[in-house]
Symmetry: C2
Subunit: 208 residues, 2 copies
């Protein structure tokens, strides 16, 4: 599957082999995360799973942190490819579906949370760059959707789209954390409430 056929880009020499190994490493790393969780995952554990030494991982990815970033990014890419979030839903619902999808992959939410926590520490450029860009992209994409929803009257027009996007992402992430620690927390209900608050004429229609 990862084997390059003749005609694949740059199949000569060991370049293609390196690409294949990278993919194989990421495959195994995702497996290790699913089984052991993000915190207990070490270079040696991943290397053992792949069947190489931990130094080989360093060769391909530089540091453990960069490997972790790529593991998450690859997982997210595959999820989006295999189970794309359907369109035609509200920005809040979109974030909820995305979070629910991530939750189906064992260890993925833990890895994400761990990377974000690491990103807040100084001296962790890989995690910091990952988290910063991930939030920036998420905000940019969601801001556009909020603007569309505002244009078609599904979200109040008096709200700043960028602030709504940041708020929705924050609420989704934060509620997921609370729900993971206490399943009694009504994550879905709270997000639905936020969705309602962002909608026009919510006060008129629901308030006593």
């Amino acid at each position: 599957m990862a084997q390059p056929s003749p005609g694949s880009p740059r199949a000569r020499g060991s370049y293609a082999k390196g690409i294949a190994m990278r993919q194989e490493i990421l495959d195994s790393a995702i497996e290790v995360f699913a089984q052991r969780g993000a915190g207990r995952t070490s270079l040696r554990a991943i290397a053992e799973e792949v069947g190489v030494t931990h130094a080989a991982l360093i060769h391909h990815f530089g540091t453990l942190e960069q490997l972790l970033v790529e593991v998450y990014s690859e997982s997210a890419r595959r999820l989006e490819r295999e189970h794309p979030v359907p369109g035609g839903v509200s920005p809040v619902e979109r974030m909820r579906l995305s979070a629910e999808r991530n939750h189906g992959v064992p260890g993925m939410v833990q890895l994400y949370t761990s990377l974000v926590a690491t990103a807040l520490e100084v001296g962790h450029p890989a995690a910091t760059a990952f988290a910063t860009e991930r939030f920036a992209q998420a905000r940019a994409a969601l801001t556009e959707q909020v603007r569309d929803a505002q244009a078609s009257g599904r979200i109040r027009r008096d709200l700043d789209a960028g602030q709504v996007a940041a708020l929705v992402i924050a609420a989704s992430d934060g509620l997921q954390t609370q729900w993971l620690l206490d399943p009694g927390v009504d994550q879905v209900g709270a997000l639905a409430m936020l969705d309602r608050l962002l909608t026009d004429r919510a006060a008129e229609g629901d308030a006593g």
Copy 2:
């Protein structure tokens, strides 16, 4: 200050000395966190600051994780004692002020985020218990304040108080993270917007 005077409970022998040492360890640990950040803090670094070996810390706190939990709890306790959050403000504003206050202590937000991330991993009972209880207490306290605000008409009565509490905590935590990674994120503005959304007759007063 932490020195037990005659008449203090159980001043005999080395019991009181152990209590004083615990406080001294926590003092130094808070210092180390302020200077080195949460991620780079090790038992040996704290021990060096205190002037003991890392084995002594294990003796008093059991594990690094438990020490970290106590460091955060003690910092939070001192903050609340020395700079209590003023009353008479909205639940959202209350969370914002609390977050702003924590932000003044170097390393505190990083430590908190790190503990929450650790809590999501399996096999970390100290961090998990800390985070679970902290969220539960925060939700319970905020839920009461939301109910009060609803009773006096400052928050829409058609909203579930518990859901509002969970949402406000999530928004506060999540926006703080985004703001730390990108100061361009309007954390204050987004929280003010949420405050407005929760208020009765927000739609009438601002829309259009």
